[in-house]
């Protein structure tokens, strides 16, 4: 059991504790607890199945931020089986540690991987700026995307950010312009683009690497124009309504698919992506390969046209 237990995961923790005790007793050999152990193991699976099938939007937001969740580089290393060369720098200002990327291969196919990177220790989190890119991060991403386009390699983006960094220097160096430029350029990239939300998809910071032919969300992630906390503080002037805000924003993968704002959902292992890393890596790999073979069959000019048409059709309004 992870020490990073979320509050709603408590019932599982309680059962797990009982199971551990039963096993200890069994080891001492004084009482036969075989039946109890089987019963508890079944109960854990049942409770987990029940719990994770009925998560509230806020609980999914919590899962998307789970500190044990795999991050972009974990996926890339696993998907490419280590056949990946990380590239650095935007060729203008500096290298942004919150945005990573480079060429790698899956099953002999060269792909450009780009993603926001979070850290899993306090030091790493700071080093990665909590996955909040500065303008140079978006420009680095664009540089790599253009490189992929030049060599005709498909692009995979892995989205996981609480937002573009709202700092002073970010404003000086044109955070708005950097994101805007990516939206424009990605819309017309002449290679297939697959975007996968692997954790948090916060607003323009996520969208800045999120214009793709296929936009997919992992089951326990969120994607919206604002975080539930910020939404709560703006609309209700406090953070107490974050659960209500999470409901109202319709930010889960299911909600986003229902609204036709994404193209698909990738199922996570029972208990979330962190509960079984190998399983989620395999699932994501299969999804990428399947979608790539679909996209590669489409004439590139048609693909770009379809990409633009897809985003152009988004939104709800009354004509007259």
């Amino acid at each position: 059991m992870s020490k990073n237990q979320l509050d709603f995961e408590k019932p599982i923790a309680v059962l797990q504790e009982q199971l551990d005790k039963a096993k200890q007793i069994a080891e001492k050999g004084k009482v036969d607890t075989t039946n109890l152990i089987i019963e508890l193991e079944q109960k854990i699976v049942e409770t987990k199945t029940q719990l994770y099938a009925n998560l509230t939007p806020w609980q999914r937001v919590q899962l998307s931020r789970h500190p044990d969740r795999p991050y972009a580089l974990d996926y890339i290393q696993a998907l490419t089986n280590g056949d990946f060369i990380e590239q650095f720098g935007d060729r203008t200002v500096k290298d942004d540690k919150a945005m990573i990327g480079g060429f790698g291969s899956i099953n002999g196919q060269t792909l450009m991987f780009i993603g926001q990177q979070k850290g899993n220790t306090t030091k790493q989190r700071q080093y990665r700026n909590f996955g909040m890119p500065n303008p140079e991060g978006y420009r680095k991403a664009l540089r790599l995307m253009k490189l992929a386009e030049k060599f005709g390699k498909p692009i995979i983006t892995l989205i996981d950010t609480p937002g573009a960094y709202p700092g002073l220097e970010a404003e000086e160096r044109g955070q708005g312009e950097a994101i805007a430029r990516n939206l424009l350029e990605m819309a017309v990239l002449k290679v297939p683009v697959i975007c996968i939300i692997i954790g948090e998809g916060a607003s323009g910071g996520a969208l800045g690497i999120g214009i793709g032919d296929k936009v997919l969300m992992l089951e326990n992630t969120w994607y919206s124009v604002i975080s539930p906390e910020s939404c709560s503080s703006i609309l209700w002037r406090n953070w107490d309504n974050k659960e209500r805000a999470a409901d109202a924003l319709k930010l889960t993968a299911t909600d986003m698919l229902t609204q036709h704002l994404i193209d698909g959902i990738i199922a996570e292992p029972l208990g979330g992506a962190h509960a079984n890393r190998d399983e989620i890596f395999n699932t994501v790999k299969e999804e990428i390969l399947q979608n790539l073979s679909l996209l590669k069959a489409i004439n590139i000019d048609n693909l770009v046209e379809q990409r633009i048409a897809k985003f152009s059709s988004m939104g709800v309004y009354n004509e007259a």
């Binding site: 573009a164 960094y165 709202p166 700092g167 002073l168 970010a170 404003e171 000086e172 160096r173 044109g174 955070q175 708005g176 312009e177 994101i179 805007a180 430029r181 939206l183 424009l184 350029e185 819309a187 017309v188 607003s203 323009g204 969208l207 800045g208 999120g210 214009i211 994607y223 919206s224 124009v225 604002i226 939404c231 703006i234 609309l235 209700w236 109202a248 924003l249 319709k250 930010l251 986003m256 609204q259 704002l261 990409r307 633009i308 985003f311 152009s312 988004m314 939104g315 709800v316 309004y317 009354n318 004509e319 007259a320």
Partner: protein
């Protein structure tokens, strides 16, 4: 859409009426407190006669300032907001929209119209801050997208006058995707080599800055406008200290390389006209 049935009467055309403005109608500048006759202030394009303070104005005024004889043909003017998420905060989104329509006489936060500027055709999209803070929801995104389509079809320059607090929260991800939609359309406009002038006014922040406002062939702004991605309050909280003087003003954004030049609104029409002429000849 027809040219002649949609003739609008704006403020600058009614010069005669203005001259008859009864004495005692005064405008007090919120910046320098100078009190000046309202009609003179209007004739000065709503710029303070003493300190150059630019009063916030809306699409009615901008159309009148730019279009020849205030003649223009508005498109998609009846489009109104849906409520994709059945959003309720302190009030229902549908009620908020209905009240805003009633209060402002506008249908949403942008109006799009074609007309002529010194005889040269142009499509102008102009935002109205009075309508839910000029926020961008589906209507704003769609109307701008269709205005760009018009520019593409007719090969006429596109002018976007931005004035917005950013994305409209009550449409959540639908609002977010309007950034993608408008930017994608601008990519096509750029490929077709049709000029795009982004005219940025006070205030322009958030998702509008991070999409069409920053994508002009020419990014121009009025003086001393607030222009940024994150709002100043958020930046202040992030860095934990006071912001430097002039932070996120037009002049600041120009100095950092993201604006082509600043236009004093007193000269909005001659400067835009000059730009269109230079590109056309």
């Amino acid at each position: 859409m027809s040219w002649f049935t949609r003739i609008k009467k704006g403020i600058t055309t009614s010069t005669k009426e203005k001259k008859e403005t009864p004495e005692g109608l005064w405008y007090k500048c919120p910046s320098c407190k100078h009190i000046q006759p309202s009609n003179e202030h209007e004739d000065n394009n709503y710029v303070c006669l003493k300190c150059d303070y630019h009063q916030r104005i809306g699409s009615h005024e901008y159309f009148a300032l730019l279009f020849d004889n205030n003649l223009f043909a508005e498109i998609n003017e009846k489009m109104t907001s849906g409520d994709p998420l059945s959003f309720v905060d302190t009030k229902k989104y549908t009620d908020r929209v209905r009240e805003s329509i009633k209060k402002t006489g506008l249908n949403d936060a942008v109006r799009t119209a074609s007309g002529k500027i010194d005889g040269m055709p142009a499509m102008i999209a102009c935002m109205d801050f009075a309508f839910i803070g000029g926020s961008m929801g589906s209507v704003v995104g769609e109307k701008i997208a269709r205005a760009i389509d018009y520019s593409l079809q007719h090969k006429v320059p596109f002018i976007m006058i931005s004035k917005s607090g950013g994305a409209r929260m009550m449409e959540a991800a639908h609002s977010l995707m309007q950034m993608a939609k408008t930017s994608a359309k601008l990519a096509l406009l750029s490929q077709a080599k049709v000029p795009y002038i982004s005219y940025i006014t006070d205030p322009t922040t958030g998702g509008v800055t991070a999409s069409f406002a920053m994508l002009g062939d020419f990014n121009v702004a009025e003086p001393n406008a607030l222009i940024g991605f994150a709002g100043p309050r958020v930046v202040k909280e992030t860095i934990g200290k006071d912001l430097p003087k002039g932070f996120q003003t037009s002049e600041f954004v120009l100095e950092h390389g993201f604006l082509d030049f600043i236009i004093n609104r007193k000269e909005i029409k001659p400067r835009i006209s000059q730009l269109l002429r230079l590109l056309a000849n």
